[in-house]
Symmetry: C2
Subunit: 155 residues, 2 copies
C-alpha cells in the first residue's frame, strides 16, 4: 500500500522534467522502458497519479490575490448544499469541511483586494453561510509541492 524507490524516482524525474517521455526516463534511471511504463500504469491504476494536466498559475491569469476564507455554516434542510453553491464560484479553488461545528475552509483567488471583496460577498450570499473570516496570503515561501513527500514515501 505504498511506493518503492523506483516509483519515487520515476515520479520525481517526471515531475522535474515532464516532457522527457517514458523512453528517456528509462534511460536515465537505467531500467527497461517497459518497466517504467508498467510502473506508471500501476501508479495511475492505484490512483497515485491522478493526471498529467498542465499546471496553471492563477497569478499569471491576473488573479494575484490568494485568501483563505473560513465559513461558519448553518445547515438548512431542503436547500442546495453549501459546497455545491461554492463550486459555482470560479474563484473558489478548493473547499474543505473542517473540524468544528459546521465550518468550512476555502481557498479563493481574486484580481486584487477590491475584487476579493466581491468574491467574499458571493460567498456570504450562499444559502447557509452565516459569516466568514478571511486571511490574505501575503507571500508563499513554500508553494505547493509533492516531491519531498514522494521521496519520503519511497524510502
Amino acid at each position: 500500500m505504498t511506493i518503492d524507490q523506483l516509483d519515487a524516482r520515476i515520479v520525481s524525474l517526471l515531475t522535474t522534467e515532464p516532457r522527457i517521455g517514458v523512453l528517456e526516463c528509462s534511460r536515465r534511471l537505467g531500467v527497461a522502458r517497459g518497466t517504467v511504463q508498467a510502473r506508471l500504469d500501476r501508479l495511475a491504476a492505484r490512483g497515485v497519479i491522478t493526471g498529467y494536466g498542465p499546471d496553471i498559475d492563477p497569478a499569471a491569469l491576473g488573479f494575484g490575490v490568494t485568501a483563505f476564507v473560513t465559513l461558519q455554516i448553518r445547515q438548512v434542510a431542503g436547500h442546495v448544499p453549501v459546497a455545491d453553491q461554492l463550486a459555482l464560484i470560479p474563484e473558489v479553488l478548493e473547499a474543505h469541511t473542517i473540524t468544528g461545528s459546521g465550518d468550512m475552509l476555502c481557498r479563493v483567488v481574486a484580481r486584487d483586494n477590491a475584487d476579493l471583496q466581491r468574491v467574499i460577498d458571493l460567498i456570504v450570499d450562499v444559502q447557509g453561510v452565516v459569516r466568514t473570516s478571511s486571511v490574505i496570503a501575503l507571500d508563499t515561501p513554500v508553494s505547493y509541492r509533492i516531491l519531498p513527500l514522494v521521496r519520503a514515501a519511497g524510502g
Copy 2:
C-alpha cells in the same frame, strides 16, 4: 495581460484529457497544429502554464489526513527563516505568510491523526515558531480545480 477564448479552450481540453497531445487537440478545436503549439509556448513563456508534471494524490501515498496549521511566529534575528525550516518537512505541502502579526498558514498531510501529532511537533520545534493552531480537513467537497477560473478568464 489575459487569455482569450482559444487559450481557455486549449487549456481546458488538455486539462480534462491530458494524453491527447497537441495534434489531436488541434483537430478537436478545428485549428492548425502550429497554432496550438504557439499558444502553448506563449502560455508557458508568460508563466500561465508552469508545468505538466504528474499530479500526485497524497492520500493514495498513505497520507490520508490533511490539516491546516496556523503558526504564530516570533522572528529571531540571525536564525534560519522559519519558511526554510518548514520546507525541510516533507509533510508540509505549502506554506503562506498571512495577514496578522507574523503568522503563517501551512497545509500539511499525515498518515493518520497520531502521525499528524508527530508532524505538528516537528513544526513546533522549528526555531521561531511560538505556537500552532490546527484544523483537520474532514472532507473536500471542492478539490483543487483551476478550470472554472480559466474559463472565466478566457471570456
